[in-house]
């Protein structure tokens, strides 16, 4: 390459409208271009709620993982965790957009992300709990959560790929490749930490213990999920597959599977019903405050 041309083209880059190298779809140029957006013949309120469940899982975990940015143990890990957070954010945007479209009340991804109150969020508790870098965890806990979450999501999306909702099917098909990478990343770290030093083994074990009580909720069906056969995935059917994966990773890491009792629900309710942990209010306060402080602003 001619060096002079290379440097001149950098200035050209300032006016160049080519977005192609921007890896993460930040411009939101229709990653689902060409996908049929017809709404299947089911109850629209149920389908909206289901899209919110999936979208909120991804959005809230993305928000948590982004907390690591500039705080990871290595620069490579800063890049990797940001990458995973970006993948999840991309999934969340597609799912919230779909929720708004199915609902038909004119709410876009931002209205849904920023203007709903805590009780209207339908993510599972596993996505919202604090697992580090701040109080409530460390890198091992973050990895334990990512391992459980991505193993579960991968199983869910692999079934959702056959959904009668063409948009959910397309989101799942696109998300599967991403989730396979997330699970692989988490599994590799679980093995490294389980096998590495006494300290890392102890921390990895503690991390698994921290997240294990939230596992049961992942396999507990909400009535909405059961009212959408052919469209939604019944999470109860994912349990054995996910538990097998977790057992295999723990075996490779030299870690025992935690023997931790499931966290009790609140009057039978949990994340899918909009009943959250105490951590959720703070997460939303931080995420939503600027958007809510300037009503009518354009971003």
């Amino acid at each position: 390459m001619n060096a002079d041309n290379a440097t001149d083209s950098v200035y050209d880059g300032l006016v160049d409208q080519e977005d192609a190298h921007w890896a993460f779809g930040t411009g939101f140029h229709e990653p689902l271009a060409g996908v049929d957006r017809a709404v299947p013949d089911v109850d629209r309120a149920d389908l909206t709620a289901y899209c919110l469940m999936l979208g909120d899982d991804a959005l809230v975990l993305s928000q948590r993982l982004a907390e690591w940015c500039s705080r990871a143990p290595e620069l490579e890990e800063d890049v990797a965790l940001a990458n995973i957070a970006l993948d999840l954010l991309g999934q969340a945007r597609l799912l919230l957009t779909r929720a708004g479209e199915v609902e038909g009340a004119g709410r876009d991804e931002d209205a849904l992300a920023y203007l709903r109150d805590e009780r209207e969020f339908r993510n599972v508790h596993l996505a919202e709990i604090e697992c580090g870098p701040f109080a409530g965890g460390d890198f091992a806990t973050t990895i334990a959560r990512l391992l459980v979450f991505s193993s579960w999501k991968l199983a869910q999306y692999s079934r959702l790929r056959g959904s009668a909702d063409p948009v959910l099917a397309a989101v799942a098909a696109k998300g599967l490749k991403e989730l396979a990478y997330h699970r692989d990343h988490a599994a590799q770290w679980t093995v490294r930490l389980g096998d590495g030093t006494e300290e890392s083994h102890r921390r990895m074990r503690a991390g698994l213990h921290r997240v294990w009580p939230f596992l049961d909720e992942l396999f507990t069906a909400h009535p909405v999920e059961l009212r959408l056969p052919g469209v939604a995935v019944d999470p109860a059917g994912l349990r054995s597959e996910v538990e097998d994966v977790l057992a295999e990773v723990c075996r490779a890491a030299g870690l025992e599977l935690p023997d931790a009792a499931p966290a009790a629900r609140v009057a039978g309710k949990a994340g899918r019903d909009g009943v959250h942990t105490e951590a959720m209010g703070y997460l939303l306060a931080e995420m939503q405050h600027l958007h809510r402080s300037l009503p009518g602003a354009k971003w």
């Binding site: 200035y11 880059g13 940015c69 500039s70 290595e74 890049v79 940001a82 890198f139 995420m287 602003a297």
Partner: protein, 311 residues
């Protein structure tokens, strides 16, 4: 044959120096220092913008900002790799950073106080960085020049994203326009300081120019930045906070005032608004990650041992 004279001739003839070529110790040291400072700047630079990721006001802006901060980590990685081709060790360079023995760009010692700062950093700070860095794509040391080509392309993309955020905010509410102007008022002078002290006071310029490490003087680059930025400010609809700023038809350039150089030296000297905070953040991340890096190394060593046993 006199190696040093041969080296000087090659550099003067614009030949690229590659890692295995002979080079004077001073050249190697100067480059390691400059590349390391540049890498440190990318890594410390993740903090002021990272400060707003959790609060980004739309999901699209959150994705753009997170991707940008991630790119900065990536730039830090390639630059540390370029420094390693000169025999430096990344771990040692990181230690020098967190012990305060090597510097990073002083601009990151200013706080980010509103979301407009994310746009203004993209527009002015990345804009100034591009003016400084584009000539480095032709710097004499090959690995550095090649890293800079890629980095400059990404930086120019960031600059455009920042400017686009500001254009959007200026088309929004009065409160947003005021937020943009207030942010420009805070960042304009620190951005001009990014080119370093005036040429007459710059200790490293002359030698680095002779070695073709540096290609333009601080004042030349500062002028180029002002000339490039004024029309962009007009298009955006903001006022640059310099009463002396005006077009000089005779010179064919804008005239402009001087930043407060006392403030510059204060910040460079470690007493800027965020110096202590930035270093403490980096140090904490590094120390908190120590057990993870040890575990990864221990696991790799055990794996290698196991492979040997099998073989």
């Amino acid at each position: 044959m006199d190696l040093e004279a041969e080296f000087e001739r090659a550099v003067a003839a614009e030949r690229r120096v590659e890692p295995r070529d002979w080079m004077p110790d001073g050249y190697r040291r100067t480059l390691i220092r400059q590349i390391a400072q540049h890498a440190h700047s990318e890594i410390i630079g993740m903090q002021p913008e990272g400060n707003w990721i959790s609060r980004a006001p739309s999901l699209r802006r959150k994705a753009i900002l997170l991707a940008k901060v991630q790119d900065e980590a990536g730039h830090g990685l390639y630059l540390y790799a370029a420094a390693e081709t000169l025999g430096a060790d990344r771990g040692e360079l990181t230690d020098k950073l967190i012990d305060g023995k090597q510097k990073y760009s002083s601009i990151f010692n200013y706080p980010t106080l509103s979301y407009a700062d994310v746009g203004v950093i993209g527009w002015l700070v990345d804009g100034a960085a591009i003016c400084n860095q584009v000539p480095l794509c032709r710097t004499s040391y090959g690995p550095y020049a090649r890293a800079m080509i890629r980095i400059c392309k990404e930086e120019s993309f960031h600059q455009r994203q920042g400017y686009e955020l500001l254009m959007t905010m200026m088309s929004g509410t009065d409160a947003q326009r005021a937020m943009v102007q207030e942010s420009v008022d805070r960042w304009w002078w620190p951005s001009l300081m990014m080119f370093g002290p005036p040429d007459a006071e710059s200790a490293n310029t002359e030698r680095s120019m002779a070695w073709r490490i540096k290609r333009n003087t601080n004042d030349e680059l500062r002028q180029k930045f002002v000339d490039m930025t004024v029309p962009q400010a007009e298009k955006l609809g903001v006022t640059l906070p310099d009463p002396e700023l005006r077009w000089n038809a005779e010179r064919g350039h804008y005239d402009f005032g001087q930043p407060d150089w006392r403030e510059f030296w204060q910040v460079v000297g470690g007493n800027g608004p965020c110096n202590a905070q930035r270093l403490a953040h980096r140090r904490k991340a590094h120390e908190d990650g120590e057990w993870v890096r040890q575990a990864a190394a221990a696991h790799a060593a055990k794996q290698a041992g196991r492979r040997e046993e099998v073989a």
